[in-house]
């Protein structure tokens, strides 16, 4: 009973908090409510059995009753723990990050709403509620991106994010309904067997928009217009991972085609995101592309436990990177890498955090990222997708390269400008995340993981470890060698040495980016513009054709009928006489001859 009550508390607390914070918009109040939620959620995750189920009666429809059913299985509990941890850190961090903003209350309300929707998404067993929560997190994302509503770019980005997500939602909607019909149940936990490939692919396609996977990725970098702590929570750690989570939810009930589809989309995004991340000079956009890339890596895990595991470790180190980036932005009042450099002495905690979380991103030993990346490699190896292993190795080189490059550019070298301030609440959440990302939570052996009940481990022969080590060396060395040649945002270092290669690389990266930002973005914009054109055409059609024919035609018809008939009413006695005679004659004819 106590557990059920606790569960209800976890489920409802964020919503109640949103309401309370809307009434009393005080940051400290909001943070305490968030702390209560996080403690309750973490406590629930540690005490609840791995297959916790509960259902509340909701409503009847056509003789069958639909319950609000919940299913906190291992994966849901793990991600819930992540949400609890990250959301608390973000709440704490936001207090000083947004302390000059007079509408900080509204911001905290949005955060609570988001946590409530995300919790619902993770814990529900019902397809209907899952879909509902899926849309709700998208709406919260809209609200948070457009938080600074006077920035035109922010509101454009918010709208774009919502619409692209809606596109995915439609695929998910029909995928889920078809899934429910196929298994004849509306509960995930009651589904057994393998659904047809088309259903699985529709569901995964729904996840594509949410996780900003190829080709629906362009909204995520734009979404960085929102406040940085919010980006850390929803556009790095949790909401975008919902697309992975849906893959995890349906992993056991979908077939190899669906898994392969997910893996291929993931592989494309993994490489594309990493390439784009190299050529950004905006600290947040680098991290956004890195998120796309890492989400792609999770997708390469195809929804297996390997995906889930990387979701967790990535959630912690990417949230940490975002918060550290937030601290850096707060320090130099700029997001451009051109304004940064040598900050290691002025912002040591941020530098340390960047180092540790960056190591997690690269998957260096002693970090959680190491195990999760190895686990994905293990999954790919055991399921026989060697070609994806090659992609993985290639992507790891790129990942090591862009994150070490960023570290050099921000923290090493000579100090450029800025006078960093010490701020307790900027650093505490980062410290918390550093602790969480530490390897000891996962295993005592830095190179091998323990078997456990929550997550399955996929093993890979030791040759992979050499390859991994090589990717680190290549990436870090590459970044180190080129560190002085790369003034950020300006790639003029190569033409001095090897002009043709420079042109080639620039052309390659540009064309990739052109494809992404120009072609796909244009394509999306083009479709949107097309819609507007169609809209205007149809409005014209409506006004002139539909209305014209029905109203104009109807009126014209009655008018001309009236005109013809009115001629008969000529008011001349002679014509009336004539008509009477003709009528009478016709009548006589009829009576005499026809009848």
């Amino acid at each position: 009973m106590g557990l059920n009550l606790l569960f209800l508390g976890v489920l409802l607390l964020p919503w109640a908090s949103a309401l309370l914070v809307a009434l009393f918009p005080k940051p400290l109040f909001s943070i305490s409510l968030s702390a209560v939620f996080s403690i309750a959620a973490l406590y629930f995750c540690t005490t609840a059995p791995v297959d916790f189920k509960i259902a509340y009666p909701w409503f009847n429809l056509g003789g069958q009753s639909l319950n609000a059913s919940f299913w906190a299985n291992a994966s849901a509990q793990l991600v819930l723990g992540l949400v609890a941890l990250v959301s608390f850190c973000v709440q704490l961090f936001s207090k000083s990050y947004l302390k000059d903003d007079h509408s900080i209350g509204r911001y905290y309300v949005y955060l609570h709403l988001f946590v409530g929707s995300m919790t619902l998404l993770l814990l529900t067993d019902s397809i209907l509620i899952f879909y509902g929560a899926w849309e709700l997190v998208g709406a919260c994302s809209y609200l948070l991106i457009s938080f600074w509503h006077q920035k035109t770019a922010a509101i454009q980005a918010a709208k774009k994010a919502f619409l692209i997500n809606r596109l995915g939602d439609i695929a998910l909607l029909f995928g889920l309904i078809a899934l429910g019909l196929h298994f004849n149940t509306w509960q995930f936990s009651a589904m057994h067997g393998i659904a047809p490939a088309l259903i699985g692919i529709a569901i995964i396609a729904g996840g594509m928009a949410k996780s900003a996977q190829f080709p629906l990725m362009s909204w995520l970098p734009d979404a960085m217009e929102g406040p940085t702590p919010a980006s850390a929570l929803i556009h790095a750690a949790t909401m975008v991972a919902a697309g992975v989570f849906v893959g995890v939810r349906v992993f056991d009930i979908t077939g190899p085609e669906t898994h392969l589809f997910m893996g291929i989309i993931g592989a494309i995004s993994f490489l594309a995101g990493a390439v784009f991340a190299i050529f950004q000079n905006d600290i947040k956009k680098t991290l956004a592309y890195s998120t796309i890339s890492q989400l792609g890596l999770m997708w390469m895990g195809m929804g297996s436990d390997a995906s889930l595991f990387h979701l967790l470790t990535h959630g912690i180190f990417k949230a940490g990177l975002f918060l550290a980036a937030g601290a850096v932005i707060h320090t130099v009042h700029s997001q451009s890498l051109n304004d940064m450099g040598g900050l290691r002495k002025k912002a040591p905690i941020a530098a340390l955090a960047y180092l540790i979380f960056g190591a997690g991103l690269m998957g260096l030993p002693l970090t959680g990222g190491f195990y999760s990346k190895e686990n994905i490699a293990g999954y790919l190896y055991t399921s026989g997708h060697v070609e994806l292993l090659v992609v993985l190795a290639l992507g790891m080189v790129l990942t090591s390269f862009y994150i070490s490059r960023q570290f050099y550019l921000i923290f090493m070298g000579p100090l450029k400008e800025g006078s960093p301030k010490k701020d307790f609440s900027l650093e505490t959440p980062i410290r918390l995340l550093i602790i969480a990302s530490f390897f000891i939570w996962i295993s005592v052996n830095p190179l091998e993981m323990h078997e456990n009940t929550l997550i399955s481990i996929y093993h890979i022969p030791s040759f992979w470890l050499y390859i991994t080590a090589a990717t680190w060396v290549l990436g870090i060395a590459g970044a180190y060698v080129t560190r002085n040649w790369i003034p950020a945002g300006n790639y003029q270092f190569l033409p001095r040495f090897w002009p043709s290669l420079f042109r080639f690389i620039r052309w390659k990266s540009r064309s990739a980016q052109v494809f992404e930002t120009q072609f796909i973005d244009r394509f999306v914009n083009g479709i949107a513009a097309l819609q507007v054109i169609v809209a205007h055409l149809s409005a014209w059609f409506d006004r002139h054709i539909v209305d014209g024919i029905l109203v104009g035609g109807g009126a014209g018809l009655s008018a001309s009928t009236g005109r013809i008939l009115s001629r008969w009413q000529s008011a001349k006695v002679q014509s009336y006489w004539a008509m009477i005679i003709v009528t009478f004659a016709l009548f006589l004819l009829y009576a005499l001859f026809i009848k």
Partner: protein
């Protein structure tokens, strides 16, 4: 209290008010009298709601009085009764009507001319709508249905905007054409069908105090079918229950399935179905019969727009579920694909048109067309989910469109301008209004947690899972979700977000008054309540839907 003719009171109260206000020269008190009567009506409705038995699929609070009967000589007798009743379909619509009228009356403060006449007409409108939703006799229904036109015509024609004459006449003619189609079918069916109960009474098969049971009904129907009763001893009526039972159809009539009568390749029953369908489709309104709606909305004053979208359009959906579908179920199922296709067309076409509008009120009007398309697609499904979704969407749209039109009214009453381009960044000028408009807009685009989501979800799901409808139609209709999000967010962004800008610097835009705040907020709360606990409505209509499905 149960001895009172409650349902007649629901009609009588506003009728009385209309009479008093229309005849008397009450200027100052007109508003309070109207609101008082409307409040009383709402209280009555709440009582009826609380006493309503959801486990019964039958009509409740029945009232029956003989009205008139005509002898047709060799063809028997014709009779019509004044019968009222409430069932699972009408109870929620009655509540909606009471509520929306009440809100509209409260928000009529901008009406400054001919106040007495205005309130009298609104009450008259309310009375006839109430009658429509409660009539169990088709003739009675038709009388109320036709009567509705009159107050609406004057409300738009007298208190409307600059093109009010055009708009009110267009509204009048469109609706009149619709009701003519209904009239044709009604007369045809009255002749073709026999009222078994009255016939049994007349022929002495049962005694009045005995009541009517299934056995007796079967016996009478057998007698009708075998033509053992002389045609002069048959009683025809417009009782909807009798008309909905195909076994009451005389074998000699053209509406009988064995009749070979055809016109333009369609049998009489098919004609009957399509005429009834189109008659109500005009009211809904369905594309391409919708063009009266934007004009009427743009010209109508705010509270009348609220009533028009919030309640009047619902009669189209009600007519289908109460009359068209039960009377011609087989024909309807045969055309399910066409119906769903028309629904999907309305959704997408309405949304496209909304996207192109620069006038905020027109945009909302076209969004009504789009949202009511979900009702049609749900009805076409012939599944419990689809029908429940359609009924839910009907009520939900009633609440949400009222909310949206009030929102437009807030701006219009302050500036007299409805162009979307004239405003920007209202969030800094009117923060409360922005919050509530945001709620209205997110609720309208079908965000979960609001009522719109449940209605759209179950309508689409019903169509997608239906065995009569091609699933591709549902997928096509779902495009409306995307387009809906498009035009609503675009509007929200243009008007409310961004840098503050007003076309005319002299405009003063004070934030919401208490009255506006309460009305908007109250409707928003209702939408959330229904969205979180949809059982409130599903429970009411459950027995109706399962009964109709059989």
């Amino acid at each position: 209290m149960t001895n009172l003719p409650l349902l007649s009171l629901l009609i009588g109260l506003p009728l009385l008010g209309a009479l008093v206000l229309g005849l008397g020269q009450l200027k100052e008190q007109a508003r309070s009298i109207a609101i008082g009567l409307s409040t009383l009506q709402l209280v009555l409705l709440v009582y009826i709601y609380s006493a309503f038995d959801t486990t019964s699929g039958l009509f409740q609070f029945n009232e029956t009085h003989n009205w008139f009967s005509i002898s047709l000589g060799s063809m028997g007798q014709f009779m019509s009764k004044y019968t009222l009743g409430v069932d699972g379909l009408s109870i929620s619509l009655l509540l909606l009507t009471g509520l929306i009228t009440w809100v509209a009356l409260w928000n009529s403060t901008d009406i400054k001319e001919k106040i007495g006449g205005y309130y009298a007409l609104v009450l008259l409108l309310n009375a006839s709508i109430m009658g429509c939703f409660m009539a169990k006799d088709l003739f009675l229904f038709y009388v109320f249905f036709e009567f509705m036109l009159l107050p609406m015509y004057f409300l738009i024609g007298i208190w409307g905007g600059p093109r009010r004459n055009y708009a009110s006449l267009k509204f009048f003619i469109y609706t009149l054409v619709g009701s003519l189609l209904i009239l044709i079918v009604m007369l045809g069916m009255g002749v073709a069908y026999v009222d078994p109960y009255e016939t049994a009474l007349l022929n002495g098969l049962i005694r009045p105090e005995q009541g009517f049971n299934v056995e007796a009904l079967k016996t009478v129907q057998q007698l009708i079918q075998s033509q053992e009763l002389a045609t002069s001893s048959l009683v025809h009526s417009f009782d909807m229950q009798a008309l909905a039972d195909y076994n009451n159809c005389q074998i000699t009539s053209i509406l009988h399935i064995s009749s070979g009568w055809q016109l333009a390749g369609m049998s009489a029953r098919e004609w009957g179905f399509w005429l009834l369908f189109i008659g109500f489709a005009i009211k809904l309104p369905m594309v391409p019969l919708h063009t009266w709606l934007p004009d009427a909305h743009v010209e109508a004053p705010t509270p009348i727009s609220v009533l028009l979208a919030g309640v009047l359009l619902k009669i189209g959906a009600y007519g289908w579920l109460r009359i068209t579908i039960p009377f011609f179920q087989a024909e309807a199922i045969e055309s399910a694909n066409i119906l769903a296709g028309l629904g999907a067309l309305s959704i997408v076409y309405g949304a496209y048109n909304a996207l192109a509008m620069t006038d905020l009120k027109k945009l909302v009007a076209y969004s009504s067309v789009s949202h009511m398309g979900f009702v049609l697609i749900g009805i076409a499904a012939f599944t419990a989910e689809g029908w429940q979704g359609a009924i839910f969407q009907t009520i939900s749209h009633g609440v949400l469109s009222a909310l949206l039109f009030l929102m437009v009214g807030v701006l219009y009453s302050r500036t007299g301008n409805r162009e979307i381009d004239s405003y920007s960044g209202l969030v800094t000028l009117m923060p409360r209004f922005t919050v509530i408009s945001g709620i209205a807009i997110f609720a309208s685009l079908g965000l979960p947690g609001f009522s719109g989501f449940i209605g759209e979800f179950f309508s689409l799901m019903g169509a997608f899972t239906s065995s009569f409808v091609h699933p591709g139609i549902a997928v096509f209709g779902a495009l409306g979700l995307l387009l809906g999000a498009g035009y609503l967010l675009w509007t929200f962004q243009k008007i409310y977000l961004g840098k503050p800008y007003l076309k005319n610097a002299d405009w003063s835009l004070p934030d919401l008054t208490k009255l506006e705040l309460l009305s908007l907020f109250g409707l928003g709360i209702i939408s959330i309540l229904l969205g979180v606990y949809p059982g409130l409505l599903f429970e009411l209509s459950d027995k109706f839907v399962t009964g109709l499905l059989k």
